[in-house]
Amino acid sequence: MDIFLTALAASLSWQALLGTFFGALVGLIFGAIPGLTYSMALAMVLPITFSMSHTAAIAMLLGTYIGGMTGGAVSAILIGVPGTPSAAATVLDGEVMAKQGKASIAIGIATIAGCVGGILSLIVMLVSVDALARVAISFGPAEITALVVFGLSTICGLAGGSLVKGLIGGVIGLMLMNIGQDPIDGVPRFTFGTTAMLQGVDLLVAMIGLFAVPHVVTVFATYWRGKEMRIEAGNVRTELPSWRLLLSQRWNFLRSAAIGTVVGAIPGTGGPIAAFLAYDQAKRWSKHPETFGKGEVSGVVAPEASNHAVTGGAMIPLIGLGIPGDPATAIILGGLLIHGIQPGPLLFMEKPDVIMSIYLLFVLAYVVTALIQLFGVRAFVKALRVPPHLMAVGILVMCVIGSFAIRNSLFDVGVMGLVGFVAYWLIKGGIPATPILLGLVLGPTLEREARTAMIMSEGSPAVFVESYTALLFWALALVILGSQLITMMRSRNQGSKKAAA
């Protein structure tokens, strides 16, 4: 109890509160701008924490991490371009809700879903950090390969009209990520012998091109056609979701948070896969799956609860074992180490007060982020009153800045434009954008893990089916693919019957 009170006092000191607030604010801004991510925000605030007390430093790092995760939803909802890859699934229903004039509800519920998901994941972490850390360790390259394939199987649910076109999208995503240096033995691929091309296609750069550029082209064409939809000032309501609405989502909250926590705990996977899995599951469990993609609230809650639960999940191997699962947690680890805090099993015994303050600051970061976001809703939705064609020019500028800032390279800006060009034609050709993004996100992980597994097994493919965990995910992927095929067959039969009649 003493420990708890000391930690509580430290966490509520003005330094910690200020650190959390600035961290969350910086994180929100970075998260909301496509291309700028929480990893960048963390790298940026890290030197600032060098001279702080360890509590304030942890507060600032966690605030930045969590604010960054939350910010991604804002641009996903308002302009249909995800601020971070983790928020890509939020676009599906969030953007539609904004077009229906419900942007503030969407942002509100996304914020609350994130906060609930994050805190649920912390509770899971509190009770089972040891057990889940063991689970995390049991995931080797073969198991992660199976998990990624399971993640890719959600393309089935996202493909919309045609499974073939959805799969084509996924494959094109995979192909784009093959350009550049091979991840295992550094062989250049499709570089035409140039050094610049070794950078390859960066995931964030491709994501911006994929979502933002086709959107901007369409806005301009619509404007010249004289059909631009103006949202009048009166139509932008700033109401927040009701308690009733929130309560109706309780199972969705729990399910999505559970998915996010587990996926987050597995090193090397992360937010996007958790968000898409949660979205897919929400749709499967829903009584009215046909409303998904048409402004369904559950379609915003699921990915946001899930990708925020990833933050708690990712803390499990970080705190429990000292193993960072992604670039963001690697930076947090650096920040802890600099202050002489070495996460790992011993930290629980040697410095329980530090562990306690990490937990408390984690909750604090969520509360502060949610408050900033909920107060900010009014300002965010005002952005919708800017005429779309003027907004579109601004979006283009921000896309250029965002894709430049990722690696400080103008090459990336060019790639962003090129991917956007290709994406525009693909979308015109009926290939949906979301499966392309899944391919982009999961492609590099799939290749790296599958090839590592093959090297480990010295070439025997049996490695992929040797563990129960891997078998489970293969089976789940097969079930999803199978059920999709059956549904398609049925609807085709019905279609031809109708045509015959």
Partner: protein, 161 residues
């Protein structure tokens, strides 16, 4: 439905050709490592073949389609204004990248934005033409560049600040 079918025929053919070029490129430029089960070639090759097969299925579906498979409305063909949208977007990007390379963020953004508003969107109000580009560029420069220390492009010829 005719437009839908024509669209699938075109998409399928194009993607099939791209897949073949892709595969050919892999076979000529990426070294194989004989003896090992997976190499730098494996994944690109697998995705290339997958694209070839899938686009062939799409083509076949479009050729042999007798009954409307989906009740989805066909996308209208591109008209002149769509082309104008494409030209405007990519023209802007090309000019803007060039300006950033030569003159850095502040000058590049103000000039590119103002020119776009005047030439492409036909804006004539001096308030908008000066206020929007300058306000936007300065706001981004101050908040992102100075306050949050995001690295903004530096010009090769001239640089403000």
């Amino acid at each position: 439905m005719a437009a839908d079918r024509a669209r699938d025929l075109l998409t399928g053919t194009l993607l099939f050709v791209i897949a073949l070029v892709w595969i050919g490129f892999i076979l000529t430029t990426i070294p194989d490592s004989p003896g090992s089960p997976s190499s730098a070639r494996t994944f690109p090759l697998a995705s290339g073949i997958a694209l070839a097969v899938l686009s062939a299925v799409l083509l076949a579906g479009a050729i042999f389609r007798t009954s409307p498979l989906q009740a989805k409305k066909a996308a209208p063909a591109l008209d002149a204004l769509d082309w104008r949208g494409i030209a405007a977007t990519f023209g802007f990007l090309a000019v803007y990248i060039l300006l950033l390379k030569l003159t850095g963020f502040l000058i590049g953004t103000v000039v590119a934005l103002a020119a776009f508003l005047y030439l492409m969107l036909g804006k004539r109000s001096p308030w908008l033409l000066i206020g929007y580009p300058v306000g936007f560029a300065v706001a981004v420069w101050l908040i992102l560049g100075k306050l949050l220390a995001v690295y903004l492009p530096q010009g090769e010829l001239i640089n403000l600040f």
